[in-house]
Subunit: 384 residues, 2 copies
């Protein structure tokens, strides 16, 4: 198939910031795209060839959209998988394949998959209803503290909570969930693996993440992770093992914990470009969005090495601000060396909403880290 002709159409489910950054790459290669999102103001409304408004969880909307494209991909996991399975059966190329997506969409299934495939992960319990958690505690089969995670439809740190006492259980959504042993980790790491249709595989360097303690959102992503080589190699090997077992096509972002004993435990995975790979736009020979496009079009994969060290700072809505967004002091960060703001184009801010990110690149990772701190202290996402 000639991807570089207007006879070919790539469909993307979801029109958010990940899709928006994917579209820079489809524009670069002049690949004809069609995007579906529920919001008429989605960041992807600009940059695609065709934009369709539709509910990603609606069978008919997803099926009808998918029938008109040659290759179908996602920028968000929460899509109607039954429609995708039907499309796949009818010969549409769906990447990630639905078999992989079905495992990933549900965190309980994901955890069982790790156990079944001898992939190290934190001990967990599965609950059909949140109310069952209390019973487990009372019966002595679950101890504080632990991490509660909703099985499906969590995003941006929503749907994850550290539970330290009975009071913390109040207000949890009632549905399917898991509880996980709280791991006293030394580092949170991530590795992005790319796999194309013919099965060629490549991994990005291990990155290190620092989370905001309250919002449970990534504050800094640092590439390369400042860890020992043998730990990095172990993380890469485990990520490759997950990739091999889950048989994704496109990217697989594997988030991991490095425990105090230097054990690596898989936390969770995402079968698409990921926040932990945004640094790659400025730092890598092939950025993650280009790599995802290469993989799903079965093109040869690109070089995943870095040209320079990269650090990413998420721009999230400041607490106490809801409404029309203003990027306070954005002009100040343009003065800093190697700093590139990415503004996603969401009109409304609210506390902890992901509104953009800033990449800091430098030959010296310590200098990059210093500038990243400055960026963090300078720019504020507030309302008018």
């Amino acid at each position: 198939m000639d991807y570089f002709s207007s006879d070919f159409t790539l469909g993307i489910l979801g029109g958010g910031q990940l899709g928006k950054m994917m579209l820079y790459e489809t524009r670069k290669f002049d690949i004809h795209t069609k995007v579906m999102d529920a919001s008429k103001d989605a960041p992807c409304k600009i940059g695609c060839d065709e934009f369709v408004i539709g509910d990603l969880l609606d069978f008919d909307a997803v099926y009808n959209f998918g029938k008109k494209v040659d290759v179908l991909t996602i920028e968000i996991e929460n899509v109607n998988i039954v429609a995708l399975e039907k499309l796949e059966d009818e010969g549409i190329k769906v990447y990630p394949p639905t078999a992989a997506l079905r495992i990933i969409q549900n965190k309980a299934k994901q955890k069982l998959f790790y156990v079944d495939h001898n992939i190290p992960t934190a001990p967990f319990s599965r609950f059909a209803y949140a109310s069952e958690i209390k019973e487990s505690i009372e019966h002595g089969s679950l101890d504080f503290p632990f991490v509660w995670k909703i099985a499906q439809f969590g995003y941006d740190g929503q749907g994850v909570k550290i539970i330290r006492n009975m009071k913390d259980l109040q207000g949890l959504p009632p549905g399917e969930c898991i509880t996980e042993k709280l791991i006293p980790f030394k580092n949170e790491l991530a590795v992005i693996v790319a796999r194309n249709v013919k099965g060629e595989i490549t991994t990005y360097p291990v990155v290190e993440m620092e989370f905001h303690p309250e919002a449970n959102q990534v504050e800094y992503v640092i590439c390369p992770a400042r860890i020992e080589d043998k730990v990095a190699n172990k993380a890469r090997e485990i990520a490759l093992e997950v990739s091999k077992q889950i048989k994704h096509v496109g990217l697989l972002a594997v988030e991991m914990f490095q425990t105090k004993e230097n054990e690596i435990l898989v936390n969770e995975v995402a079968p698409r470009p990921h926040n932990s790979g945004h640094y790659s736009i400025e730092a890598s020979y092939t950025n993650q969005f280009e790599q995802h496009i290469r993989a799903i079009l079965d093109l040869p994969l690109g070089n995943t090495n870095s040209k320079v060290a990269g650090i990413m700072v998420n721009l999230v809505g400041a607490e106490g601000h809801t409404g029309d967004v203003v990027y306070k002091n954005i002009e100040e960060i343009f003065k800093m060396d190697g700093v590139t703001p990415h503004i996603y184009g969401k009109r409304q801010t609210r506390p902890f909403r992901k509104m953009g990110h800033v990449t800091i690149v430098n030959e010296d990772i310590n200098e990059a880290r210093r500038i990243a701190q400055q960026v963090k202290e300078t720019i504020k996402v507030i309302s008018k």
Copy 2:
């Protein structure tokens, strides 16, 4: 003014490949854009917030378009300058300023400007009509060989011809033109200078250009130029002098000859992103398109250094091929290390038409040059 709000609009005259690459940057910063081009199939029809069809040389079209934007820039020099002057008088921010654009639009005016400001350039003669060239030769005031250049509206190597004998004069367009002494140069070099509204200035490294001997189009752009530091410094100083005198806002691409005696002569300039700066997307800390946007919005200018060496190969239509385009062997070049194709999205190819470019980046410039040659020998722009 808050550039990062939807109250602000940046207007771009011209919807070609340069505009298309500018739009990656306005999308990145979420800057609201409006583009005008004569063709409904212009590469910029995707990626801007609003697209308007209009003739860039028509006073009313340009004036009416410009009245609805806050800052107006160009991606091509051939626009109605009278309309721009009226817009400027009425308070629209036009960058490059019309005073600079008026000099640059006409190659005869450009050459006179260099002479008036003691900027080294090749000796030349100015002719109101091409027919006068023959008279000059007959009177002995002009000797073969020389370079003929049309004064206005040349592009992509059209409007430039080396004249070695009377026969070469046949078929030249009749209008205003210049003739220039044919310089037996050692290298063609270029320096891109960025200048923001408040007058801050920065220069990109000197690049070296190799031209296709027949088509008179750039074949390779190599950054950094493989020349002595003192020659590079001289080229940078001369480019800065042109910038200072011409008082542009935005980018100024200064093309120069390095003579066999290591003299630097200014060839011509362009007040916008330029083919000689395309390598910067992959190789530089701040690419030329982002830098142009920073400059015209009066933001601080970015770091112009390179992360790695960069080489650009133009993808031009192969001889003997006119019609619907095919990028033969494009999949092969995806296999090569550090190689990124950019496809402009023009549906029709013709001999020597600029259809895209390929960037090759590598820590080692000689390795990049070797791969660039391979790219050149592999991919072909042909018709179906």
